[in-house]
């Protein structure tokens, strides 16, 4: 239902919202099969060509859900190859929702987007260093650890 004004504002600004309710039997069956939506609530971020770019399964509190919406926007930009825009959008997640579920993931993909934009591996090293300062215990820190510069022996 999205009662939060914060979430409503995000939805209205960046998305065209479509609701498929379980009581709309034919539409629900068709679209849930098409997008493999097996649980409710499931919220998909779909680009204009109909391709899913992000998925939110189950309930989330307001800030975590808002962060996921912004994360999905960033993923869509990265998938479209606009890496500078993706970087900005990932940064926005971290700035606005630093404690939310998606913030560590945003930090990871921000670094990847910067690397894809610049072709400079230092972007990945810097990202692994960023995880030493913040979100150290996250799965994304583990993923980024492979980029850690090996110390000279």
């Amino acid at each position: 239902m999205y009662p939060s004004p914060t979430v409503s504002a995000l939805v209205n600004e960046f998305f065209v919202p479509v609701r498929v309710h379980v009581k709309q039997k034919d539409d629900f069956a068709r679209l849930s099969a098409r997008f493999n939506a097996q649980w409710t609530p499931t919220t998909l971020i779909v680009d204009a060509s109909g391709v899913e770019r992000h998925r939110i399964e189950g309930f989330l509190p307001r800030d975590d859900f808002a962060a996921q919406l912004l994360l999905g926007r960033a993923h869509a930009a990265r998938a479209g190859g606009t890496f500078d825009e993706a970087e900005r959008r990932y940064q926005l997640v971290i700035e606005q929702y630093p404690l939310a579920e998606g913030a560590a993931e945003a930090q990871y993909w921000e670094g990847v987007s910067r690397y894809k934009r610049t072709n400079d591996a230092h972007a990945l090293i810097e990202t692994s260093q960023a995880f030493e300062r913040r979100y150290q215990d996250s799965t994304w820190a583990k993923k980024a650890s492979v980029w850690r510069q090996k110390e000279a022996s």
Partner: protein
Amino acid sequence: MADAINWQTNLDSALNDARRDGKLVLLDFSAAPM
């Protein structure tokens, strides 16, 4: 105060609107009481 969300019910129409407006579609599968 934020405006209420204007939920659409047709995905194809929403995709057209998304292309026109440079937006993404938010597709929400729900079982919440209406």
